[in-house]
């Protein structure tokens, strides 16, 4: 009963947080825009106006499936590890390297590229965990530093190993045709990454919520001392889940490159890893809800993009919406009184019915 109220409450809190964020966005839009209603129309309805934009939402959502599931697994052990960003970036670089230099047949080439991305991503996710388990180094700080290191390492590979001097800007050679992930539908750019992403969602859900390892990881997240006393090897599971989470983010980076691009052309960190944190928070660290959360974030992005192109409100409104959602969802005491009353009422009713 109380568990049910807790879960119900989490959903209501997320819904209210989103509403507050959107309300605030409307308020800001009506301040800065000359035609606020038109801008809001573009933000809310714009993404569904034609099939191409709906396609855009799904395209944007695909990488978030990977980073969202990856971060959900990482954070379930109570580790605030931001390395998903670097893992995603270097996963993409590794896939680019494999796609440019290897000669492999259709079907196998993208798989090898994704494995390369997953390996390097897992390594990046693992490093902050090792530093934490061995040296008690704060994972937030070390992973953020690692993101910068990953970025420069990736740029070195692009700049000195697979650099194409003919394009006139910093980019790799064209990916070999055998490595490209084919499109699913002809009208949009939605590619096979969607299928792979949904498989990752299912596997992530089974791992985190239905397996012995997932249970241990969640227990560590709730109370590491208790987990330690009940005989769980805390260090091992922390390393395991950061490795898996990083690997999923790395595969995501590879899929994004092979599905959406014909050559590596990121000039800076893409932000998908940080977006993954947002998606995971909205999904309450449950891979089952990651597609929904990823769809919502992608929808807001496309909406803001449509709005920025058709009206005078810049796309950065998105970051204001995101920040507001995060702070309210992450607030323990926000609406806690309401939850408290609800639980008290439910228990009183139960007592009454038991007495009767």
């Amino acid at each position: 009963m109380i568990n049910k109220i807790e879960n119900q409450f989490k959903f209501i809190r997320i819904a209210i947080s989103i509403s507050i964020a959107l309300l605030l966005a409307f308020l800001i839009i009506s301040f800065v825009s000359k035609d606020p209603l038109f801008a809001m129309y573009n933000l809310i309805i714009g993404p569904f106006e034609n099939i191409r934009r709906v396609g855009n939402i799904v395209e944007l959502m695909i990488p978030l499936l990977f980073t969202g599931v990856g971060v959900s697994i990482m954070y379930s052990a109570g580790q605030i590890n931001m390395a998903s960003e670097g893992a995603f970036f270097l996963g993409g670089v590794a896939a680019a390297y494999v796609s440019v230099t290897f000669l492999l047949p259709y079907g196998i080439h993208p798989v090898v590229a994704m494995i390369a991305g997953g390996l390097i991503g897992g390594l990046i996710g693992l490093i902050p965990a090792i530093l934490f388990v061995k040296f008690k180094a704060l994972p937030v700080v070390s992973s953020l530093m690692l993101n910068y290191i990953s970025y420069f390492l990736g740029m070195y590979v692009i700049h000195y190993i697979i650099f194409d001097p003919e394009t006139g800007y910093l980019s790799s050679f064209l990916y070999k045709e055998t490595a490209i992930l084919p499109k699913l539908f002809s009208v949009t750019r939605i590619h096979w990454g969607l299928v792979i992403g949904l498989i990752v969602v299912v596997l992530g859900y089974l791992f985190l919520k239905k397996s012995k390892w997932g249970y241990a990881i969640r227990m560590i997240g709730m109370n590491p001392n208790f987990a330690q006393y009940s005989g769980i090897n805390v260090g091992f599971y922390i390393l395991l889940c950061q490795l898996i989470g990083g690997a999923i983010a790395g595969i995501g980076g590879a899929v994004e490159q092979l599905g959406m691009y014909s050559r590596f052309q990121y000039q800076k960190l893409s932000g998908h890893g940080f977006d993954g944190v947002l998606v995971a928070i909205l999904a309450n660290y449950n891979p089952k809800f990651v597609p929904l959360a990823a769809f919502f974030i992608a929808y807001v992005r496309v909406g803001a993009d449509v709005m920025a192109r058709n009206s005078d409100v810049p796309i950065e409104i998105v970051s204001i919406i995101q920040a507001v959602i995060i702070v309210f969802v992450a607030s323990e005491r926000f609406l806690a009184g309401w939850k408290h009353r609800k639980i008290v009422k439910a228990s009183q009713e139960r007592f009454a019915s038991e007495e009767a």
């Binding site: 008690k136 070390s142 530093m145 702070v327």
Partner: protein
């Protein structure tokens, strides 16, 4: 190789260290005060970005430097207070709140800049003011020393002054004692009548103020304008410096200068057109190594505690 050595062992190089270490010293001192109050705050990046933009807007609109500094400080401290409200009152997760405020700082400043000027990249169309440089009388005429420590931005001197002020505040005043006691043992502090939340808010207020100066230095001294995401991780390096310095103001300042030197070395490599990527990693690698070594120090202190316990037990017998 010879060129590298010549570039590194020059007065210009040491001048550069002080120049690039200035914002790091400010943030590390902000991080130190906040940490003493027992708060894990990573929102400095957001505070600094807003302060940097606030300083530019204020000074450009009024053509008055002090109004600019005031507005920048208000912007930065506002972010610190939002952090305080969510983390201390609504008991929000501190890391996630910090992350959110950094996202807000990155996007919100660009949004504001666009709303005011119609530009997104830099504020160069605004005629904002800069904090002047200062040639220290007498010292500027001493051959090597003068070239290194004279002629800096006033903010640089303020940064070093801040280190002293923070030391005095933390260790020599009643407020500092309260902040430390709240950070080390909030229950005990409360039992002797210290208002825990209020003290923590004050430490965040002071931290926000100091971080704001670091932000304003970036847009009113280091560069003459605001550019998007111009902090590029300095807020986090400041936190790392505070960690590496073990919460002691002088050591924290030295750590910040160490990170500054790594940045200065990478600047030298970039100007010599060597593959700069690896050198650009340097400050971040140094930070991670720093984090590891603090972990090592902590282990050592654990063994010390063990030894003290053993001595106590043996004296009891």
């Amino acid at each position: 190789m010879d060129v590298i050595f010549k570039s590194i062992f020059s007065t210009v190089f040491f001048y550069t260290i002080l120049r690039v270490a200035t914002p790091l010293i400010f943030v590390s001192m902000a991080a130190l005060i906040v940490r003493k109050g027992g708060i894990m705050c990573i929102a400095f990046e957001g505070m600094m970005l807003f302060a940097a933009l606030g300083g530019v807007i204020g000074s450009a609109l009024t053509q008055n430097l002090f109004v600019g500094l005031l507005l920048g400080t208000i912007f930065g401290v506002t972010i610190a207070m939002i952090f305080a409200y969510f983390v201390l009152v609504l008991q929000s997760n501190n890391v996630l709140t910090g992350l959110a405020l950094n996202i807000l700082g990155s996007g919100g400043t660009v949004f504001l800049l666009f709303a005011l000027t119609g530009e997104k990249g830099t504020s160069s169309s605004l005629r904002s003011l800069q904090v002047p440089h200062w040639n220290i009388p007498i010292i500027k005429d001493i051959p090597i020393l003068g070239e290194i420590i004279s002629g800096h931005n006033l903010f640089t001197y303020l940064a070093f002054l801040t280190v002293i002020l923070v030391y005095i505040l933390v260790y020599k005043t009643r407020l500092g004692l309260r902040i430390r006691s709240v950070g080390e043992n909030p229950q005990a502090a409360e039992s002797v009548g210290i208002k825990v939340i209020r003290t923590k808010v004050i430490s965040l207020l002071i931290g926000g103020l100091i971080a704001s100066f670091g932000g304003m230095y970036m847009s009113m001294g280091y560069l003459p304008f605001f550019t998007r995401d111009m902090m590029s991780g300095r807020g986090f390096i400041g936190i790392a410096a505070q960690n590496l310095g073990g919460g002691i103001p002088l050591n924290t300042m030295l750590s910040a200068m160490l990170f500054g030197s790594a940045e200065a070395v990478s600047n030298v490599f970039q100007s010599l057109r060597l593959p700069s990527e690896f050198v650009q990693m340097l400050p971040y690698i140094v930070t991670i190594v720093g984090l590891i070594s603090i972990g090592g120090v902590k282990k050592e202190s654990k063994s010390k505690i063990k030894r003290i316990k053993e001595i106590k037990e043996s004296t009891h017998e």
